[in-house]
């Protein structure tokens, strides 16, 4: 499993993730993935014998790990609610590159990818909503309000990414992130 080659596995995953985000699952061809990772198709199959599906799964695993380390962990960890939410939106801004990157949850929820991955996509959404709601409960909001707002936050993030792509304008996303902590913490 040790990888000492020219393109480290992390970088391969990073580049594949970019291809999937831009083209979706059905729109991402092995030729794309090979060219953009800098590896020949056969080399990709060496690392991911399951083909495109296992490449997408590996990318999702990588994203899940990042989310656990940079979002779910910090949200569940110590700190003031507001500070944790501020840290969260900063992490989101980085992850989605200010709204320029699509989210794989949206992109993989149609076509062939939906068949393979809908379970994981739903779980990711649920985990995030639960983690955000928990922070809002810590902040003193009633559970029901916390859950409604957490759902609304995830909805808005996904929606802002879609609208931003359609308009080719990252401002809806950055505007959203700026007011999200205040909106979430407003008195009930």
């Amino acid at each position: 499993m040790a990888r000492t080659a020219s393109v480290p596995r992390d970088e391969v995953l990073r580049r594949m993730k970019k291809v999937f985000r831009e083209n979706g699952y059905d729109g991402a061809s092995m030729a794309d993935l090979a060219t953009r990772t800098g590896l020949a198709k056969a080399a990709l199959y060496h690392h991911f014998p399951g083909g495109k599906e296992s490449m997408a799964a590996a990318v999702l695993d990588d994203v899940s790990g990042w989310m656990k380390d940079n979002v779910l962990g910090p949200l569940a960890g110590p700190g003031l609610p507001r500070e944790k939410l501020e840290h969260w939106v900063e992490a989101l801004n980085e992850f989605y590159d200010g709204g320029q990157n699509a989210c794989l949850i949206g992109v993989f929820s149609i076509g062939e990818a939906m068949i393979h991955f809908h379970g994981r996509l739903g779980a990711s959404v649920k985990n995030l909503m639960t983690a955000v709601a928990q922070v809002l409960i810590e902040a003193g909001l009633p559970e029901r309000v916390a859950q409604t707002r957490a759902e609304d936050a995830v909805i808005r993030i996904q929606g802002a990414l879609v609208v931003g792509r359609a308009l080719q304008d990252s401002r809806p996303f950055t505007r959203l992130l700026r007011r999200l902590p205040d909106d979430l913490l407003a008195s009930a």
Copy 2:
């Protein structure tokens, strides 16, 4: 242009729209489109000589027409702001079948479709945001607030469709529609 055949053009467009919504542009194959419309591939090419791209364009035209008749027109027409917004969410509920149908704006904003249609997608989003903002201005909200809320409404609709798909649960969308008019008209 008169069409007297077994499957009328409107029905063909309806079925193609369904295929594109479920599979995206890159994920919708000519074989799918042929099977699901009930026409042979060659018959589809007879009606849409431009191939898949012009089929998607025709579907987008059809949707634009529906939106103009059922959303943009009514929003710009006579009536109380609240009644127009209530009518709007009813139309959305019908159009997205209670959240079960994806929106082509989101689905076509990646891959090959993004290249062909990003202009139209952005225009659709802008038109809707403008129409909603105008109703809010009629309702007495300051222009800046109206625009912010209209953007937020479109963002939430798109986001609720994505989250609903990922969770395979239409409730986020129906919940959103229920509170949308109140949220939009709340005092500034």
